[in-house]
């Protein structure tokens, strides 16, 4: 079955079996291995990508054919013109990752979260990332990174 999707601004057309999951389509058909597969059972949030810019979805729990006509953003699409996305920069600055396995999904979840809630409290951040498991950081520095990004994004919005 034909699938036409825009991934990180680039249009792709591929022929896939309907049962192909979006995560595997991204990794294997498009070679975009930034999207990780962790639990493969829709629990860990490692595989989260954005659908049409602002909806976080677990890509191991969606068929590639469902993305037809839609725009997907993966972690590869966050950096713009050689400049890290404010959330990526914040994860870097705050040491929001250790092994990095959960990071792509964590980042994409947080991008959607901050779009929906640009000035979150710490409790809201913790709730917002509660569908994403991290085995390394204890979440502390991830929370700090989101707080930094929330501030930074606001600062940029004020400046522009």
């Amino acid at each position: 079955m034909k699938v036409n999707v825009t991934v990180n601004g680039e249009a792709y057309e591929r022929d896939v079996e309907p049962r192909t999951l979006l995560a595997y389509f991204l990794r294997e058909s498009l070679g975009l291995t930034g999207t990780h597969v962790g639990c493969d059972t829709s629990h860990c949030g490692c595989c989260v990508v954005l659908l049409d810019g602002d909806r976080a979805v677990k890509s191991c729990n969606m068929f590639a054919v469902q993305a037809d006509g839609h725009a997907i953003t993966t972690v590869e699409g966050l950096e713009q013109a050689g400049k890290l996305h404010p959330l990526q920069q914040a994860f870097w600055d705050q040491h929001g990752l250790q092994c990095g396995y959960c990071t792509p999904g964590m980042l994409m979840t947080c991008v959607a979260f901050l779009k929906h809630n640009p000035k979150p409290s710490e409790a809201e951040i913790r709730e917002g990332i509660s569908g994403n498991l991290c085995r390394c950081t204890g979440y502390q520095n991830i929370v700090k990174a989101v707080q930094q990004a929330a501030g930074a994004e606001t600062a940029e919005a004020v400046a522009s």
Binding site: R19, R55, V57, N61, F63, V65, E127
Partner: protein
């Protein structure tokens, strides 16, 4: 694991979906958010030959009040409920539920109607819908029918939906000024299914006596259960500490859980009582009744 092969059909309107469902009968399944169906297909617990994807049907993504009901369309995501000012101000039991289902990412895709159609014994929306006395609107090529939630939830993972039929919306009666509710869920961690859950909806008369009661428990039997004996005992009575304790005891009696790694039968039965008591206390508080906390 990958699901077994299937044929994928995209529906852009209710009519398109109904035609596809009619022509494939029992081989076809509706794909809504896929948050229960896709995992089930991956574990090969479900092997539908045809999936009819209703996500493109914009006319089914609605959340509105109409003729005394809150109407939630089959494509309305949990997240839309979670952020709705209407729900926050007028439907406290539904608001409570909306932030406890699954995790925040799953809620951006999962639907209320999908959860009811899945009818997981530990699902949260079935419990709340029972207490609310919700109704479901079912459509097929041959017409439309409305089914009460009690008749809709047939058994574990089984509903009143027939081959060729789909649910277009669920309707929750709009509470009047004297009606409030609440929902409680005990879970081991965020995103886990309930160890036990309880939903309560109460209407207080001007004389301070209860004139309407809905009490339901979840994850405590083959499906969400109405605690009819608690409802009977509540109606006509005035809120009191003793009344809450008696209703909680009825919930313990109604509960029929199985033991698993979330708890023993004894523990879960006890939790049925604890959660119904908590939900009643919160509901009475929301109704302005003092001194029961």
């Amino acid at each position: 694991m990958f699901p077994a092969q299937f044929d994928y059909q995209r529906a852009h309107s209710i009519d398109e979906a109904l035609s596809a469902l009619a022509s494939h009968g029992g081989d076809a399944r509706v794909l809504a958010g896929g948050q229960s169906l896709i995992p089930a297909m991956r574990f090969r617990l479900a092997r539908p030959a045809v999936l009819v994807d209703i996500n493109p049907i914009d006319e089914l993504a609605f959340l509105r009040e109409s003729n005394g009901f809150l109407c939630v369309g089959a494509c309305t995501r949990d997240y839309a409920i979670e952020v709705s000012p209407l729900i926050a101000s007028r439907y406290p039991m539904i608001a409570d539920t909306s932030v406890l289902v699954a995790d925040p990412v799953v809620r951006q895709t999962g639907t209320v109607v999908g959860s009811l159609c899945h009818n997981d014994p530990a699902g949260d929306w079935p419990t709340t819908s029972l207490a609310a006395r919700a109704q479901l609107v079912l459509r097929s090529k041959s017409g439309e029918r409305t089914v009460s939630i009690d008749d809709f939830l047939v058994d574990s993972y089984t509903t009143a939906v027939k081959d060729g039929e789909m649910v277009t919306e669920v309707r929750f009666p709009t509470p009047d000024d004297r009606t409030r509710g609440s929902f409680y869920k005990m879970e081991r961690k965020v995103g886990d299914f309930a160890t036990a859950s309880a939903a309560v909806r109460i209407t207080l008369g001007a004389d301070g006596k209860i004139t309407g009661a809905g009490v339901a428990i979840g994850a405590l039997g083959p499906k969400a259960l109405r605690v009819g004996d608690a409802e009977k005992l509540l109606v006509g009575a005035k809120p009191s500490v003793d009344l809450i304790a008696s209703a909680a005891r009825e919930a313990e009696k109604t509960a029929d859980p199985g033991a698993d790694n979330r708890g023993s039968v004894t523990y879960k039965k006890a939790m049925a009582g604890v959660l119904v008591a908590r939900a009643l206390r919160t509901t009475f508080e929301r109704l302005g009744v003092k001194g029961l906390a």
